[in-house]
Symmetry: D2
């Protein structure tokens, strides 16, 4: 298992007229977490891109538990629980000062960034992951 | 069953450096569909707000099938398949010129907009829905 | 002079906790207008892209006059007032049911999309514009 | 004079198909800077809100100098150069690893958050600012 934690400040631009963070923003918060998770693993997403490999989101799920408030510092925990095969899943928890706000996951495929077609996961990437399990 | 169809133009601002629409935008496309669905039902969301009732998203799921391209006209189909009880679910399909791009759903609760606490669905709203089933 | 008008529905996701459209969204509304303006001129932006030409924003100005409300239908008027030289300017007015909401402009350069370096405006593009003046 | 510096990571979701940060995102980056500037001044925006005072953007200007790249760490410098009267202006510079990316400003009015009408700047707020000049 490997996880990362990313701290973000909720901006006014993230909220909507209900006075709390708009639901669509959480997929961006998930990306912020995923980004740091890959960096921590030793393979920032920019490294995959140099190899012409992309990791598009092919499924996303979010469960909204409590609203996040403007100006709150929130923590995005991103976690890989299993060594990926063709696809892989990242789990997320977003927490604020009063506990868990959101949980969810994204599922990713490995693709050729030029052709946008599926490819095998790079061997070095799987090796990095296997060391964590 | 009741459904609506909303046509949208994909903007440059919706895409990311993969050259296609960024995953987080689909939750906004879903909202555009949901908005029209409620209007078509005879109760635009602004009517619910006047009664101090909100319909926050408490769950969201998106499955990404094909990428949407810049400048493409896409259609968001939003559909209510069952009369809601305390919570209710809306299903979505987003299609482009080459078929289905995305499918997914959102689950909503009825809340008091001032207190952000759960309330019963307004009777008139359930009546409108029952007429469709 | 050439102008276009684009009608958009204000989504919940466009608002912030002040209850009105967040300032950052207007640059997206401007893009929606610009997009239709180029289409109306006879050269959708996708045509320029096929020639490896991009039109990045190099300056943007927005003056906020009245707030736009959730669910309002707004009209983005985009206008080219002068035949462009190396750079060119598009002027915008966004209006709602109670009059003008916002006015502003963007200034654009012509660039090589691969190298992100300046290029001359394509001759066919200038010809299309000259016919309008 | 008072200034703040805020460091942000450029996300994939901030970019567009030109491969660099979309122009509309910079107004959010400006907000991130403004937010920290007010906190540093000793009056976070949430303090103003408790007094029913808002600071909507009434003008915004951005000059784009160089593109910001995905995954880059950028610094938003926000600065107040003059003691505000009825309106006040904040200047911004966004820099990346290769120098200045963007510069610009926003102009703000003080308003009653309930009525969305102009009000005088709170005395304590002006006092905080005067101490810096």
């Amino acid at each position: 298992m490997i996880f990362s934690e990313t701290v973000l400040r909720v901006l006014y631009a993230h909220t909507d007229k209900m006075g709390v963070v708009n639901n669509a923003r959480y997929l961006e918060y998930f990306e912020a977490g995923r980004n740091d998770l890959l960096r921590m693993l030793g393979s920032p997403y920019t490294e995959l891109e140099k190899l012409n490999v992309g990791l598009p989101v092919i499924e996303a799920y979010v469960k909204f538990i409590q609203p996040a408030r403007y100006d709150e510092l929130i923590t995005v925990r991103a976690e890989i629980r299993n060594v990926p095969s063709v696809r892989f899943r990242i789990d997320y928890e977003v927490s604020g000062s009063e506990g868990k706000l959101v949980e969810g996951y994204t599922v990713h495929a490995f693709i050729d960034l030029q052709k946008l077609t599926p490819v095998r996961p790079p061997a070095y990437f799987l090796d990095l992951l296997r060391k964590k399990f």
